[in-house]
């Protein structure tokens, strides 16, 4: 019956910290909200679930790796401004995101048989949405680096903040795929406005976030 003791120990730890449960519930609810935004055509939302999941695992690593190895202190003592550190991480994450897109988008389209009527616009919208996601996750990961539960705290903070971008990107991408571009300016404006605002907030707060 020792396996039961192990399971009970794990459950006790989980109910105390709620780390895994918080992450699972957030991800489950986000998926439901995403699909609800694309009634009758869930594939575009599904593509975003792929990017979000990959991004959640990857984008925060840029800062967290520096914390784990102690090299963030090396950057702190070097003659480099905190905003340069933030922008460096955003550019790095954006490059990783582009590499991911190059491989994932064609595979996804082939597997689900999606052939967008406006290919260029579809890719631009996906890239803009992903870029907004990169900016938000890079900026937020700086804020959680001092926390012990940073890996779990980031998704909890990230999901509600990035949600308008996710919904707008899914809507705009769905329109670009179907070729029905009426009202596409709305979601595109949200993506661009959100990216600019988050970048400005990240720039203004990075000094305080990085230096204790």
């Amino acid at each position: 019956m020792k396996f039961l003791r192990i399971a009970i120990k794990d459950l006790r730890t989980e109910f105390r910290t709620k780390g895994t449960l918080n992450f699972l519930f957030l991800f489950a609810f986000l998926s439901i909200m995403l699909f609800s935004a694309t009634v009758g055509d869930p594939e575009p939302a599904l593509l975003w679930v792929v990017f979000i999941f990959a991004g959640m695992l990857g984008y925060s690593r840029a800062f967290l790796r520096e914390v784990e190895t102690g090299t963030l202190d090396a950057l702190r003592i070097s003659p480099v401004s905190p905003s340069s550190i933030l922008f460096g991480k955003i550019v790095y994450n954006a490059a990783i995101m582009l590499i991911l897109e190059v491989f994932v988008i064609p595979v996804f389209m082939a597997v689900f048989g999606i052939y967008p009527k406006n290919v260029l616009l579809s890719v631009i919208i996906l890239t803009a949405g992903n870029l907004a996601f990169v900016i938000v996750s890079s900026s937020l990961s700086v804020l959680v680096i001092k926390s012990r539960a940073r890996e779990l705290l980031l998704p909890v903070l990230l999901f509600p903040i990035v949600f308008p971008v996710i919904i707008s990107t899914v809507q705009a991408f769905t329109m670009a795929v179907s070729g029905n571009l009426d009202g596409i300016q709305g979601p595109i404006s949200v993506i661009l406005g959100f990216s600019t605002a988050t970048l400005a907030v990240g720039y203004l707060t990075i000094d305080y976030a990085l230096i204790e």
């Binding site: 190895t69 090299t71 003592i77 003659p79 230096i211």
Partner: protein
Amino acid sequence: MIVRLENIEKSFGRFKALRDISFTLGKDERLALLGPNGSGKTTTVRIISGQIKPTNGKLEIFGKRRVDESVKRRMGVVSHNTFLYEDLTGYENMEFFASLYDVDGDRIKELLQELGLWKRRHDLVRNYSRGMKQRLSIARALLNKPELIILDEPTTGLDVEGRTRLFEMLSNFKSAMIFTTHNLQEAEQICERTVLIREGRVVYDGSSENLESVFQEVMQ
């Protein structure tokens, strides 16, 4: 005067790491920050190097009240944490930090040769011994020919040979130095002046001679 600290306090939440730290450091002076573990030595040098900000008190470094980029260009920091990227080679690490200080490749070669790392420059840092990593860390800190070098317990993890080699190098340094340690002999050997810290307060500031009797007196 290169560094001046006046009544520096630092709190982390409710914990007061520094309660009252005041001392100065003159040009080309070698100062040991001595104290038991948890006394506040590392917090003090982290404030001087601009990694953290004091909660209260006045810090002046190179005549400035803020540790900005121009101040950081004039100092070098060596810590027990080597501040190196383990998945880059020794040369790539130096190249990266040199780019932040706008230093050219000749200086990298000069330092790696001087510290005996030139032949292993293309090896990943993760394959270096602890002593080699510490030497590379010193090379990184000397890239910009700093006027102030801060050494935060640099002998941690070094064997006797590595320690001897490090002390030989330190004796050749011409710049001002702050050397934190909990070892009385190291403080006496490296620095002419010692500031003794206990529970976040300066309890002695004077000559490094006869430190053992001074230590026993003030720690009682």
